[in-house]
Symmetry: C2
Amino acid sequence: MLSKKTKYGIKALTYLAKQEQNTPVSIATISKSENISLKFLESILLTLRKSGLLGSKKGKGGGYYLLKDPKDVKMTTVMRVLEGPIAMVPCVSLNYYEKCDDCPDEAECAVHHLMIQIRDSNLKIYGETSLSDLVN
Amino acid sequence: MLSKKTKYGIKALTYLAKQEQNTPVSIATISKSENISLKFLESILLTLRKSGLLGSKKGKGGGYYLLKDPKDVKMTTVMRVLEGPIAMVPCVSLNYYEKCDDCPDEAECAVHHLMIQIRDSNLKIYGETSLSDLVN
DNA sequence: ATAATACCCTACTAGTTCTATAGGAGTAAA
DNA sequence: TTTACTCCTATAGAACTAGTAGGGTATTAT
């Protein structure tokens, strides 16, 4: 299941990607437009800023804005920041690898092989999709 | 993330698929062989039986066995029984569709389109894989 | 200056899901 | 009748989810 955090985060990012100028948009504006709880969205945008995807401007007229061209923001990055590893099991994760407690031999594990296939196909989709693709 | 329930369930199913004869295998035997908590595995095998994938024999010499040829057990079925819907959001689920609270228009939703792609590619992999593929 | 606006940050909480565990009832074979 | 199994319900701790609360800090308009 996709968490609401990820879902809302993607929606907010596409909202920002739609802006002609890269003028800051306030949390409240996005919150109203996308029907997202203000405080929840606030925490999501904060993590997106800390991850380096968004910039922010304080004070009146402030808000959040994209730091890169939407074309250059891959969904692999977005998903990893918001949802965590793309792999469904740590033992097939490229960035967060961990050995399974119960598996004596990964090469023999049925789940392992299947999950590698799933990981690769998802990685391909996320890698070929950028924020600009989501806007249209 | 794949739940332990699903992971263990798949391991148990492939263990049963490996049996030459379809003689019943006890929970304890699978538990030891696959390093799975006995009581947790018990509840998993119970749901697999209730879903129609496994049969069981009570009493001495009893246990669980596959009801179908491993070739005929698609991973789509297995995943739906153990993990739930294959779609990552209810609004793109074929079997468990639900409208999103926050979305006024699905056709306009960026997340929706992306998740349809993910669903379809995963569905393809699970649909083309059967238990017999996992054994080898 | 100062008031208004908006982000920054920490902490907390109710509810749900996950990963088991416990214990007893029922059934079949030796 | 003992032994070896499955069947079923209930429970519990830990972790996670989806927020909520509230004050702090920076910026800008007046």
